[in-house]
Symmetry: C2
């Protein structure tokens, strides 16, 4: 056995409390869990020692004995600093807290290898459920074992690859198509597409599909010169400049995610090109702080998180039905920038 030297000032255990109070461990456990048959006198004495020693029950030990699972849900997102994912995380946390579960969070940085590595630790941690915003290009076949063992898994914002699991997605195709149709309706025929990266990203593909669909429906030819991308604001700003400086520039831009849209706004402002119509995908706090306001296709990231968390909780409650995919609607919010007419002579 292990005569491991306790680190100095080791935290007191239930046994320590028992010894100090002159009772058995069983009795301390009873007091702590508010079990009925305990004399008030013992209870008092035990609680006094608990206070005095600053005792904290060891949840790991408890969970192990009681269910051999950690009372926590694991969440993997690409980037905690991105307000979109932060809001998703917030929705998840809100829901699982009502069940007394904790949230173990990890960033994957959009890297499939890192995603797999963090998911593995979460699984080894014995989380009760897993919620995942998968990275582009990751393969989730390795999760099949967990599914078989009944671990609830939900994918958010992007679907799983290689495993049947619950998913909560926004209606990217429809939202993008509506945005572009909106621009067409306002007279635009040269509409730029500013996508995120990598191009294989699910949301990017769906939104691009929506863009093409709307243009085709309006019999507008797709011009590859009008397609560009940039995942961060800086890249997107540069791409925007490239677009508007083309020989045959677009009169409108559809910015296919939040960072791309911010990049476009920065670029258009700095270039004094507020004549270019703009619709973004995903709403943001300051959309109203522009003149004209920024029109967007609004998603509901909080609801994405809430719905995903509710799904896994239902599974924990015994829902054994087949894997479900919930698609959340998007909403076109017209604030002005998407309703600008084409600049004269360019449409």
């Amino acid at each position: 056995m292990a005569p491991r030297p306790r680190p100095r000032a080791a935290r007191p255990t239930l046994k320590d409390v028992a010894r100090e109070a002159g009772v058995s461990a069983r009795t301390v456990s009873r007091v702590l869990n508010r079990e009925p048959r305990i004399s008030e006198r013992t209870r008092k004495r035990v609680m006094a020692k608990v206070e005095a020693l600053g005792f904290r029950p060891n949840l790991m030990a408890r969970n192990m004995r009681v269910g051999s699972r950690d009372a926590a849900v694991g969440l993997v997102i690409p980037d905690l600093a991105n307000p979109f994912f932060g809001t998703v995380a917030s929705g998840v946390e809100e829901v699982i807290r009502t069940r007394g579960l904790n949230l173990v969070i990890a960033s994957s940085d959009e890297d499939p290898d890192r995603e797999r590595s963090v998911v593995t630790t979460l699984l080894e941690r014995q989380v009760m459920a897993l919620i995942l915003v998968p990275s582009a290009g990751s393969d989730h076949r390795y999760l099949r074992h967990e599914r078989r063992h009944g671990l609830p898994i939900a994918f958010l914002d992007r679907p799983p690859a290689g495993v049947a699991a619950d998913a909560v997605l926004s209606d990217n195709f429809e939202g993008a198509a509506r945005a572009v149709a909106h621009l067409v309706r306002h007279g635009h025929r040269r509409i730029g597409f500013l996508g995120d990266e990598p191009a294989m990203l699910y949301t990017r593909r769906e939104r691009y599909r929506g863009y093409r669909h709307a243009l085709e429906a309006a019999s507008v030819e797709i011009d590859p010169e009008l397609i560009d991308h940039g995942h961060h604001e800086g890249d997107a700003a540069a791409a925007t400049i490239r677009l508007v400086e083309r020989e045959h520039p677009p009169t409108a831009i559809f910015a296919a995610n939040n960072l791309a849209c911010m990049g476009a706004l920065i670029a258009l402002t700095r270039a004094h090109r507020r004549d270019v119509a703009l619709v973004g995908f995903d709403d943001f706090t300051l959309a109203d702080a522009f003149e004209p306001g920024t029109s967007v296709v609004a998603q509901d990231p909080e609801r994405l998180g809430v719905t995903g968390a509710e799904l896994v909780l239902a599974r924990l409650d015994g829902d054994r039905s087949g894997a479900r995919t919930v698609v959340l609607p998007t909403e076109l919010v017209a604030r002005g920038s998407g309703e600008l007419p084409p600049a004269r002579g360019l449409s």
Copy 2:
């Protein structure tokens, strides 16, 4: 003992692998931990069974046996959806991941009671360290026991109350004073203060102190009529309107946090009052997307998180020196809005 019915399809344990492979548990453990004296033949056989069963070592059990502490750091922030705190969290995660530690995150919603309750679960989870953005009005005396037992605790953005612990703060006073002095230098004497809530919040108090200090240094009288507040964008926007519609309105506004600044931008745009000078506290992505650009006192939320995490890691590595307070500098970023002259006839 507990003849608790295993949940259907319970996950395989190390013992299961051992039985299937026809070896002892100790041997499986050896293989998994890459311990030296193991025959290639047994290793192969064991690994095959590990794969076949989809075995995941139970980290809870391991941690318990090995250190009786969870290989995780607990982080409590007011709100995951606020990009400021999201970025702080991102900084923390980045650092602790390099040590193979996980992040258990909880929102306190600026509520001291909830803060205490989530901190308590984190402690019971046996996290190796605690990082905290405390809520206004919370009292941390209950953490003294943990400090005594050697648990590393760091406070971010706001200092602890009632316990000596490491803290990482921004230089709020200095930053605010510089912002207001900057406005004074550009000719303003009627400068509004748009604070966050509650007024007892540390950052709010410090920034208000900086505001008063700069005005007093310039012999400008403090006008209570120019002090208002609003913690969320909506409230802040309403407060901004109240300010600029006063009989003797301010010619400049100092918005003392990120949400207040965004609220001010929204209100000023909608009211077509881009003549009012504005300096915000805390930078934001779209600051450059306005005409003129929004001048701000930039903090470094990521660095706040990184520094806090590094502090607790140093403690884990044995640093027993006294509680330290690190103050991070702020930077005045002039983009135009803070350099506007006072509107004619109003200064």
